[in-house]
């Protein structure tokens, strides 16, 4: 193991490492800790310029309750759910098929189709912005959740295909060959042989796509504009306009908006990291 395991070093070094660890963490998360403290302060603290001191009273419940009752926040959160969930489903469904096709079959254009997905996944959003907005408008889907979901599914299919294809390549190919010898149809091989083995990849992609889509801001601004369809990332800006300079409420609102992916990460940590670090190890 590198660096030298701490157990093998001097006592003094061990103690200072153990002491420095929490210190470094607090320093690293300082901006977030600040917001968390802000969110439980009473409004009076800000008018009295008590920004970074301890809260003069604990107003966490009032502040968070107000986020849910005094604004459109619940609606934005719901929109985010309705945008994120179908996108995860759609992108995973499409990419298990494309990944299967590119991972199992050998045909001449295989690598070029694969590269099309990979390259498309890297392009700047702005080169797609005007045409995608036009397309969405012409389908009558501008400012609808459906319009946003359709684009997200399509774009995420690029990354998901890269992921699925590499995952399937690493599976034992003999399984597929054995199934073919048995005369099992290709569709059944996909459904009964390969798909069950893809469960870890599907789990990893689901949490990753959930986080990416939940946190998307650009496309939310480009393809939606009202409370009836905007997700929480875009909603938070109108929330902040509503409560301008009410730092305690803006903080509480931000934490509410940020929480779902955080919860997802802590619940599915293993899958999340497996997905994110795919390819980081040979």
């Amino acid at each position: 193991m590198f660096p030298t395991p701490i157990e093998r070093t001097s006592r003094a070094w061990q103690v200072s490492y153990q002491a420095f660890l929490p210190l470094a963490l607090i320093l690293w998360l300082l901006p977030l800790i600040g917001v968390a403290v802000f969110s439980v302060k009473p409004a009076a603290d800000f008018t009295n310029a008590n920004y970074w001191g301890l809260p003069s009273s604990f107003e966490g419940f009032t502040n968070y309750a107000l986020v849910f009752t005094g604004s459109d926040m619940p609606r934005y959160l719901l929109n985010s759910v309705f945008i994120t969930a179908p996108t995860v489903l759609g992108a995973v469904a499409l990419s298990s098929m494309t990944g299967f096709a590119l991972g199992i079959y050998k045909f001449r254009s295989n690598i070029w189709i694969f590269f099309m997905f990979v390259a498309g996944n890297f392009v700047p959003f702005q080169i797609l912005m005007v045409p995608v907005r036009e397309l969405t408008l012409s389908m009558g889907l501008y400012n609808t959740i459906t319009g946003l979901v359709l684009f997200h599914i399509a774009f995420q299919t690029g990354f998901c295909t890269l992921f699925m294809r590499n995952f399937i390549r690493a599976l034992p190919f003999e399984l597929v060959e054995a199934a073919r010898v048995e005369g099992i149809s290709e569709w059944r091989i996909f459904w009964y042989v390969v798909l069950p083995l893809m469960k870890p990849a599907i789990a990893a992609l689901s949490v990753l796509i959930f986080t990416f889509i939940w946190n998307d801001y650009f496309w939310a601004v480009v393809l939606t504009q009202g409370v009836e369809s905007q997700p929480v990332t875009a909603g938070i800006t109108s929330f902040n306009a509503q409560y301008r300079a009410a730092y305690h409420l803006m903080s509480a609102g931000s934490i509410v908006a940020a929480l779902p992916p955080v919860a997802m990460f802590f619940l599915m940590q293993k899958h999340f990291i497996a997905g994110l670090t795919l390819g980081a190890v040979k």
Binding site: M1, V35, V123, A154, V262
Partner: protein, 306 residues
Amino acid sequence: MADGTSRAAEKGDSWWHRNQQALSPWLFLAPGVLFFLVYVIFPIFQSFNISFYDWDGLGAKKFIGLYNYEDLYWDEAFYTSLKNNLIWLVLYLAAIPAGLFIALFLNQTVTGIRLYKSLFFFPFVISQVVVGLVFTWFYDPTFGLLNILLGSLGMDPINVLGDENYVTFGIIFAGLWPQTAYCMILYLTGLNAVDPEQIEAGRLDGAKGWKMLWYIILPQLRPATFIAFVVTIIGALRSFDLISIMTNGGPFGASRVLSFYMFEVALSEYGFRMGYGAAIAVVLFLIMLMFIAYFLWSMYREEKGR
């Protein structure tokens, strides 16, 4: 026997059964490829096309050839954005060594280290909109922590986001926070897979500290470094959320980058110049294309090497 022949007649001779293996990949690919072509691949070419037109997004398009590009050539704001994009590209790469440094720091087996690793990774999971907000307050000239820190050192307060000279650096610093977390997790995974025998052999040969890191560890971390490089470059060129939240391009357009300027030109209150916006997007795309080509080339070599 009779059963066998009837099954052969039913299955073996059908056109579908004979061609199943050749046709299946295309059937599996069709929905995904179709979606991707319509929403990602075709729009790239459409943007190229739109960049030759004068168009407000509503009325008729007017073909003006390369006029939008000529406009770009004389546009001060375009050069500011381009310069800022370069600064982003270069400084954002700091996330890679920073991530490696934190990964080395955390690559221990003391109690609770798993929780520490997750908490260090935390900034990557929250949305950039929230990161932007948090750092806007951090820099705030009246109550921001930064200026309280500077004040305690006896320095005058700096309005980071209101100063043309500091603003881009301030936003990049905010962006480095989640990006460093991402690189850290890549390296932590990479370090996990480093061959312990090579380390022991290195130790026997007297390699220590920096030498060990440089000659024995880093070469084994190459795949992690490659991915860190790819995601950091892409992240740098995609920077939009932070700028939009923290400064909206200001002050006086000093923190614009191409991705933000394009949006501003095409879709904000300044008017709907779709053609001009598309031209900016094309420039951004061409910059990205150099990197994409390099990434694909690296992947291609790898595929051939298998």
